[in-house]
Subunit: 156 residues, 5 copies
């Protein structure tokens, strides 16, 4: 039985954690989910590390919605740096699912994007844990999470 950690924030404007969990549950069996929520994205790194080291999660999905101001962009940078550091300290993958508030032109599209990216990265986490060969098969395929895949370059 594998353990998948899911941690999101109260700052985000949709419940990204639940979207990821719902998606995970539809993908297969053989795992349990441990859920946490923290105030903001800068609280995610240690929460993810604790899920790995204290709750023994095999992989973690860390979800958040950085705001659109310059200060928020810096927060996202700090959070991402921390998530990478947490991975290096634990030798476990933490899949970062960030949707910047200004990535979508309207609240409705933002909500759609946050939901979809959460779900597509949940699938990535699932594959990394159970079917890493699927990722190798998709190397260089120009995959994106949320908006449409760009696809591989054909003109060679």
């Amino acid at each position: 039985m594998k353990l998948i950690g899911v941690v999101d924030t109260t700052f985000a404007r949709i419940d990204m954690g639940s979207a990821a969990i719902e998606e995970l549950k539809g993908l297969g069996t053989g795992f349990k989910i441990v859920r946490r929520t923290v105030p903001g994205i800068k609280d995610l790194p240690v929460a993810a590390k604790k899920l790995i080291e204290e709750d023994k999660c095999d992989i973690v999905i860390a979800l958040g919605m950085p705001g659109s101001k310059p200060t928020d962009k810096m927060c996202a940078h700090e959070a991402s740096t921390g998530l990478i550091r947490a991975q290096l300290m634990t030798n476990h993958h933490i899949i970062e699912v960030f949707v910047h508030e200004d990535e979508a032109p309207s609240a409705k599209e933002l909500s759609w994007l946050m939901d979809r990216r959460s779900r597509e990265h949940a699938r990535n986490a699932y594959d990394m844990l159970f079917h890493p060969e699927v990722l190798v098969k998709n190397a260089g395929q120009g995959l994106r999470q949320g908006y449409e895949d760009v696809g591989p370059i054909k003109e060679r």
Copy 2:
């Protein structure tokens, strides 16, 4: 009995530490508070780490007021990066409460914002320690500390 660390700065223009402590005392019992003050925000990371490792605090609230100049913004970035690193080194949460000097249009509003954000994050720290399920319930609710909550996206 839990221990909550509170560390703030002599640089800030209101006593953020006392605001957080006053709020904490109104939230419940079952904890003691350990207080420290350092010169500036770049001194916060190690002070917070010492509160965790030497004073055995279970969680720390680190409060500061970054100035408005580009150099000050960089200081805030360095301090935030250090606070995240301190958390990863200790597996304990440190709640960062920063109010940028240019977030408010007047000294009076700045003072109000610093007080209110300090108090609302004190509540976050309290909940993370005693009632983490409250945060999960609020996942994706668009919560903010200081100014009004943005709220969740309704149009879906």
Copy 3:
């Protein structure tokens, strides 16, 4: 028998990992290759570290194609910082092969550049492992990977 790790991404628009592996196989014998693919460049640092620590690779080639938006540039910075940290934590070299999506004026040239830089850095990795004296001989020679070498300054 040496082990060379190769890790690339599903985000990139050509299969950089296969290009590096094909090149390596033409360079000599005495090594085996371990391959991994992750979603994006921010997943590379821990994947590279795991190749070193869990799969016992002697050197790793980490390949990716950062996008052209400011957010993508920041991702590249975070990934690079993580790759350097992973090296320092393991005392092993990880050769970063990044091609920024806006380095080439067309998809066709981008594809050419990604292929060529992957191959030339595969050669660097091979030399660092088997013939480090080749690199010393080339010190200060203005070498580039992908586009043409700039060469050493002659006017002295």
Copy 4:
């Protein structure tokens, strides 16, 4: 007997280390001073860490004068990040005393500012070591080192 480390640079345009040491000597007794000088600010972090770990200093004052060019600003950022990391690795405070070359309008004022900030932070270091309650008393008082204190916000 406590030990206070002082490390400065040959790059700076006044002898900041001697200013800090002179000030310290006027503040009290009960401590000895260990002095080092390095070429530039990027050499300060490891020098400060060595003062703590090899020379057993209880606190360190790290002084420097970052230049005014963008590259110099980046150096200051790197040095500050390193000083924070050194503190987190040792659980000891390192008081950073940086005066940016462009903080003052003339060489004379720059010299005054460097001298004064060095002295005022020497006092901070002394208080942190011997009288930490003085800092708590000054929480939120809008203190500055070098130029005049801004003071606390009165309009509340």
Copy 5:
């Protein structure tokens, strides 16, 4: 017998490592030199750390020539951050000798600057190892490596 590590890059446009080594040999005796060359500046941090930990060098000189594009500036930042981290992990000094490609107006001057800064920092490394008191004597003297010294501020 002390050991001095020298590591440079194939990316640079003059052989900075040889310049540093030539200079070192003229400064005195009592040391041996270990030389490495890596592809680019981002490969320097782990190479320097390996020189310290595996080759037992007492100090390392890390030389490189960051390019002039924004991406190159970011590489320099990442490399510098890594070099500082390597120092903190080993408690050994690594003298960074970077000459930005756009620091000089012509290839000829760039070459001169790279040679001279390499040599002057070789002297710094030598002094830090054998005569640290020389650096203390030069504290605050406005020393520069490459271009002329700025000197101390006289107007006080």
